[in-house]
Symmetry: C2
Subunit: 459 residues, 2 copies
């Protein structure tokens, strides 16, 4: 008789993997189906390799900042093939460790593409042919992949998506980046530190368009000073490979049909959910928007079928996926019957400057007709920002009914505020709570303290 | 008729300055007496200049870490006179801003040495002669200065205390550091990054003797690999200037009378309270230990006389002083009548590695007969530690009755855990609290999550 799994998971990225570990660790009979590699986009083609690039090149930026103050001289040269080899080795070792963890916990790992044939049954196309798995509960965690739009699609030659850029054997001397969101900005920074001249194009009139407009202003000013050619508020007609170059043509209605050339182009215009051929129609699950799986308040896509992570479109962040996965397992174990509540979700842009955000932003509150106040502190007043000669940026707090409801920050190292800021938003701290807390001195964290205690202003 | 101040403050360091700002901002008639410079040891001769040195030289360490992985090559040279000029300029500007803030708030700043003549009256020796000030409440915040012991005292020639080292015009090529506490370790790291060969001597058998012994082990291993000559568990007979060199003689009963020579020696063997000539006898205040002002549960040294910061010997940390100052003003304003409660006090060693600690440590609990469990995570498993090629170190949690009671960490960048860790200790989080919190991915903070969720072991 075939095993019926308590939990069958499609997708071994952060959401699927964490769910498998927690479910199996709690005694649920668990299987995980993965068509490609454990770790998903985050480990193999996203967050992790990008952070390895940025971490490895941090000295370039630290030196540049001190050199500008005439305190240091020197040079830092990155051996790109060596960095790529180190990255690939680290990722492979992590995948291996993940596989061993699943094996230790008794999770059945099935390699292949899974598809629901009817409720309770999934067919996996394995290397040894199709295999049917039975489940009591199903978790869809199939993630997302880089997106594009007509005329602006990676061709794998000189026009690349994030996956293609991370796989390069040599860093191009010039790079066109289409998309000024977090993915584009992190990759552009890393590429520049390794010698690439950056041209960045976005249809929005500002960088990091999802962030507070004041954050965008700091980013634009820092990157312009670093020599980036920023083309904001322009429309791209096409990006194509022409011989050994990538050629971007701006829409003639806006940009006058101007052509931009570079050794390479990166298309970083968002991501698309992996929902094709999952057999969702057999489950009665619904797709919304760009193809995301619709979930109810309990993360259910259909009876006994949960969807977590990028694929449900709630929040395309690895830790959001993990948090949702934890909820699903808690629910299966009967530890909670309440609807899923994410609380404030932190998001981070790495590099220099960094950006951090959690909770509601002033503009969002305004758009919702919610009355908020804001308070701010500039990093230039902070001794640690001064020590790193990286004083551009600020911390901004959003208050609603006397309680902290949102925090954003931009500047070198501000990601360190993330956990604490997220927690105090979750707990709805008042200014008095903040003034009674002992912030260690001297720390960049004191810029958050200063922002929390600064005078509140209307938006 | 002479003004009677609601609050008269002796000492303009972090405790005294913050008290003045908060008191005057709340409408109390306030005066601040400062014999030397606003900002105290922290700004002028301690935390801040040391952090400016460490921040400015950060690229040296980041590059070295990547070079060891063969991912980067290059060199970073610090222009020490330029760095010193920048440091002095920043400190002077900060002092000026502090003075302006006091003036704005209507605080009377009196330059000179203050001395209590009888309860209610302080005589200040100003440049224009003695001046008497009357108070209703007095705050003693006179701080501390570098210590020494017979034979091991800064002579200002080649044997320096921290103040002397920070004032140097040229960085010595070799430096003997007497004292393996936080001050010695931060200064030694900065000096090494600027080319000094380090010999560090301590009577204790391990570095950072106040920390968890496992923390000491990581520090010793990292600094040994960096080429430091560590002489631990040895006694110093004397340190003297001999011609152009500093000469340290080890006690013959332990170290065989061996002589160590270097261009300079730093004496970093703790600090001494500034309590001489304050006229404390007129108040009936009591000194304890090495001369610290004894305070009761309400930080009172005598009726109407509070003492905060280094001078009360509770915790020689700037943020502890500021926190105590906040309490004193809250008390004067009638906002609290409860005894002072510090909560867990975070402490940080900067450099690479960093050390963070808050709450109770396993060995302390054991010594108190308190039953605790510990859980750990190694930084090598963290992708951000990997990205910076700085994987030595760990996060260690101490649990009492199922609640988190202490956290310590050692490794590159672990100071970023400080605020969040301090708060969750204060709130007594359980493991379930930790597993429900959304730690952003990927962050070094996830090493704290891993430690919080790891199996607990007996000590």
């Amino acid at each position: 008789m075939a095993t019926t799994y308590d939990l069958l998971i499609l997708g071994g990225g952060p959401g699927g993997f964490d769910a498998a570990v927690e479910a199996a660790g709690s005694g649920l009979k668990t299987a995980l189906v993965e068509a490609a590699e454990l770790g998903g986009a985050c480990l193999n083609r996203g967050c992790i390799p990008t952070k390895l690039w940025l971490g490895a090149t941090d000295a370039v930026d630290e030196l540049a900042a001190q050199a500008k103050m005439r305190v240091a001289t020197g040079s830092v040269d990155i051996d790109f093939p060596a960095l790529q080899a180190r990255k690939d080795k680290y990722i492979a070792a992590t995948r291996k460790a993940m596989g061993m963890r699943l094996a230790q916990l008794g999770v059945d790992l099935v390699a292949g593409l899974g598809r629901v044939t009817d409720p309770g049954n999934v067919e996996v196309l394995t290397a040894d042919g199709p295999k049917t798995l039975n489940y009591r509960n199903l978790l869809l965690a199939t993630g997302s992949r880089p997106g594009g739009f007509p005329g602006v699609i990676a061709d794998g030659a000189k026009v690349l998506d994030s996956t293609g850029l991370l796989a390069l054997a040599a860093m191009p001397k010039s790079l066109i980046v289409v998309g000024g969101g977090f993915i584009g900005l992190e990759m552009a920074q890393a590429a520049q530190r390794m010698g690439a001249r950056i041209t960045l194009v976005d249809a929005l009139p500002r960088l990091a368009g999802a962030e507070d407009p004041e954050v965008s202003k700091v980013l634009e000013s820092v990157f312009k000073r670093q020599g980036w050619d920023l083309r904001l508020g322009v429309k791209v007609a096409s990006v194509k490979t022409r011989g050994e170059q990538a050629v971007l043509v701006l829409d003639s209605s806006v940009g006058g049909g101007e052509e931009l050339e570079a050794d390479c182009a990166l298309i970083a215009v968002g991501r698309r959910p992996n929902t094709a051929d999952l057999g969702l129609e057999a489950l009665g699950a619904t797709l919304t928007g760009a193809g995301y799986i619709q979930t109810d308040a309990n993360l259910l896509a259909a009876p006994g079928v949960f969807a977590v992570g990028d694929v449900n479109g709630r929040m395309l962040l690895a830790h959001a996926a993990s948090h949702q996965a934890h909820y699903v397992v808690e629910r299966l174990l009967g530890h909670t019957a309440r609807p899923y509540a994410s609380g404030p979700v932190p998001s981070i842009l790495y590099g220099a400057p960094e950006v951090f955000r959690a909770g509601i932003m002033a503009e969002e509150a305004k758009a919702l007709g919610s009355s908020v106040l804001v308070s701010r502190a500039q990093l230039i007043a902070n001794p640690i920002a001064q020590a790193h000669a990286a004083t551009a940026g600020f911390v901004k707090c959003v208050w609603r009914d006397g309680k902290i409801a949102g925090i954003t920050a931009v500047g070198a190292g501000v990601s360190r505020l993330a956990c604490f800021a997220t927690l105090i938003i979750q707990q709805g701290w008042t200014r008095e709570d903040a003034s009674g807390f002992m912030f260690p001195h001297p720390t960049l964290d004191e810029s958050l303290k200063a922002a929390l205690l600064a005078d509140k202003e209307a938006v």
